[in-house]
């Protein structure tokens, strides 16, 4: 290790760097946007290039919730429960027009945007969004994670 005997950094920067390249995502897929998710996740567009390739099928193991597809009022309590089951720190991507705003649906059944139920970090519009938009949204989320201030309340002595 000539010339690299030690490295200095800030703890927050190191934590953010580690977190943004090791996103375990939980896909909450209800509708046709799922096809675009599959395209983005599989080999052709390969979301694993950005360190988000490890899909978890339990929200308890995930730190990125991908809400993909229409959310109805009947399903809303389920989505809230899934979000509550995830451990901190956690992030949410609203994937597609339906999750962003209700999309083409404005009726008795559909929630007009999942940000009425759970907090959202990145919105990806489109009906459905192309995989390039999904990857762009992921990069924006990584940028957000990198610059996120850490919550040190748990470390402070009373």
């Amino acid at each position: 290790m000539s010339g690299l005997d030690f490295v200095t950094t800030r703890l927050e920067t190191a934590l953010g760097w580690g977190r943004k390249f090791s996103l375990f995502h939980y896909p909450f897929i209800t509708a046709c946007c799922g096809m675009e998710y599959m395209s983005a996740a599989c080999a052709h567009f390969d979301i694993d290039r950005f360190g988000a390739g490890l899909t978890r099928f339990s929200p308890r193991q995930a730190d990125l919730l991908l809400v993909v597809g229409t959310i109805t009022h009947k399903l809303a309590p389920v989505l809230r429960t899934v979000y509550d089951q995830m451990l901190e720190p956690k992030w949410v991507i609203a994937f597609g027009a339906c999750t962003v705003s209700g999309g083409i649906y404005q009726n008795y059944a559909v929630v007009q945007g999942i940000d009425r139920i759970i907090p959202v970090d990145v919105y990806i519009p489109g009906c459905p969004p192309r995989p390039e938009m999904v990857l762009d949204g992921l990069l924006k989320l990584q940028d957000k994670i990198q610059h996120q201030k850490q919550d040190w309340r748990w470390a402070k002595k009373p």
């Binding site: 009022h73 404005q106 008795y108």
Partner: protein
């Protein structure tokens, strides 16, 4: 059995239950009197008509007309490979029709859907609950009188601005 003889045969078997006959893209359409729905479909299910499959059971809300809710039944005969559509109108006040639950098993869920969306009661149905919307939902969303943007959330939402 040609279509003319088929319709003649159905008319002969059902008698006054058939109010009108029409044709839709080559398939026969019968308009039934609402009180005759169950006996008529029970007869059509057996030989010689042999309409063994209930393909669909749905409803249309003609808000302005007197027989407001028009029930639509789609039948299919496996042995003869022909389809038949039946319609019956029920009035807006207390819409009700006899259930087909004893004839076709799938009628149970189809009738629950029509009950949920249109509020048509099916008499004799073993378990007439909502199927698509949830417990506590008020009204019937596919009725023309349902406000088109009225939502009934199950959990508290953040306020709209």
């Amino acid at each position: 059995m040609g279509q003319e003889t088929l319709i003649d045969g159905i008319r002969a078997a059902l008698g006054p239950a058939v109010a009108a006959v029409a044709d839709s893209f080559g398939d026969p359409v019968l308009v039934l009197r609402p009180e005759a729905v169950r006996p008529a479909l029970a007869a059509l299910r057996e030989a010689p008509f042999d309409y063994a499959v209930l393909l669909d059971l749905t409803c249309v809300d003609f808000a302005a007309s007197e027989g407001r809710f028009e029930l639509v039944y789609h039948l299919y005969s496996l042995s003869r490979n022909v389809r038949l559509r039946l319609k019956a109108s029920v009035p807006a006040a207390d819409p009700a029709v006899a259930s087909l639950a004893g004839l076709w098993k799938n009628a149970e869920w189809l009738e629950r859907e029509v009950f949920d969306m249109f509020g048509v009661r099916f008499e004799g149905h073993p378990d007439l609950r909502r199927i698509l919307t949830y417990e506590g939902f008020e009204g019937h969303p596919l009725r023309k009188s349902y406000p088109w943007r009225l939502a009934q959330p199950r959990i508290p939402l953040k306020d709209d601005v």
